[in-house]
């Protein structure tokens, strides 16, 4: 299957709307029969966090990051017109009204379509995020793994 096309998305952003765009493209590419990878790094890792609190041992600084960062896709803010949290509610309302797919469901769809969800281990370490805190089905790798895919990729995006 060396001929299969490939889409590799770096999800750096922790914004609801940008992550939506990432997963709409990822799901589209998977439907197009691409090999698709979403490589989450920095704030993008929050999209892979579980909603519930997870008991972990970590330092003070790491605990602070844990508390301040949104716990999972559904709790992320907007890149634009966030209005202190009002914006995401508005977007979720229009998503519902227009029968569009909310972000957590887009991520589930991606999993079903065998999109590779990869968490960047280096930035997990940096932000003090542990594997237990991330959703099931996520793989763990570094920038070398990303590059080995992307250097043969067709659609490479940084979001």
């Amino acid at each position: 299957m060396g001929e299969k096309k490939s889409t590799n998305i770096i999800l750096f952003s922790g914004d609801y709307d940008k992550a939506m765009a990432a997963f709409i493209i990822a799901n589209g590419a998977a439907a197009y029969d691409h090999d698709v990878t979403v490589f989450a790094t920095f704030w993008g890792l929050n999209a892979f966090r579980k909603n519930e609190q997870v008991i972990t041992k970590k330092g003070k600084l790491e605990r602070m990051f844990e508390k301040m960062m949104p716990r999972g896709a559904d709790n992320m803010g907007l890149s634009n017109m966030n209005f202190g949290g009002m914006g995401p509610k508005m977007i979720k309302n229009v998503i519902k009204k227009h029968n569009a797919v909310p972000l957590p469901d887009l991520i589930d769809m991606a999993k079903e379509q065998e999109v590779n969800l990869v968490a960047c281990t280096m930035t997990m370490d940096l932000l003090g995020l542990q594997k237990e805190e991330l959703i099931e089905g996520v793989e763990y790798a570094g920038v070398a793994a990303y590059l080995s895919e992307a250097e043969n990729g067709n659609v490479n995006l940084f979001i």
Copy 2:
């Protein structure tokens, strides 16, 4: 002309400076004889809005988005140093002073160079934007159309 190179830019951002970068690259690539597409989605759609108000029928929520989002390229803010609207004025001053090209003119140049300006129908629907509200010369398509171009593209960017 299957040999023609291609540049495909997703314009997600509604920031004046980011849209400038997108259209400078688009115009450069067109001058380089690439097939060029700017695919506007989410806040990037605002770059394609007409400056004048357009009478439409729409729901309350969609009307709210319409009012809150900038009406056209010339009314967009900056991604950085926006200073409540002062930043765009400063940038427009330096653009004038240095004989650079302001955003609305960059978009006109792109049209003249036959850059494909595409508005993402899914996010238009989401934000309640209607075709009458967008400038002439814009085409309408979804993520599938984007991917069918980008999978054979040379320069694919998400801005």
Copy 3:
């Protein structure tokens, strides 16, 4: 060496964390034996500014930009959780604690690995930045030079 793969990163953002991501990828790609270029434009140019003040002749508007923009990689803010300058300190603390590499050292590593650091002359002119204000080892070019590399590139990213 026409067979060498290539990575071309447009660094538009002036955020510490985004520039970190850019240089981690750049250094990774260089280690993978890619030809690598980081093309800094708009706020991304600040990553190439010298820390110390440089005496130059320039207009009022350009002087204002000079004063308001961060002087060099170490003075840049975060794209997220900046908290009026607290965020960068926190990030620098976790970087130290986890033996990760701070941004100025990532840029030095990139130079040692012969990553091409290119400053966009058009936006330098726009923001009134002069060559004396940028660090040693930076080259100067425009969008045409970027495109001539990127159109044959393997990993093209806009950050």
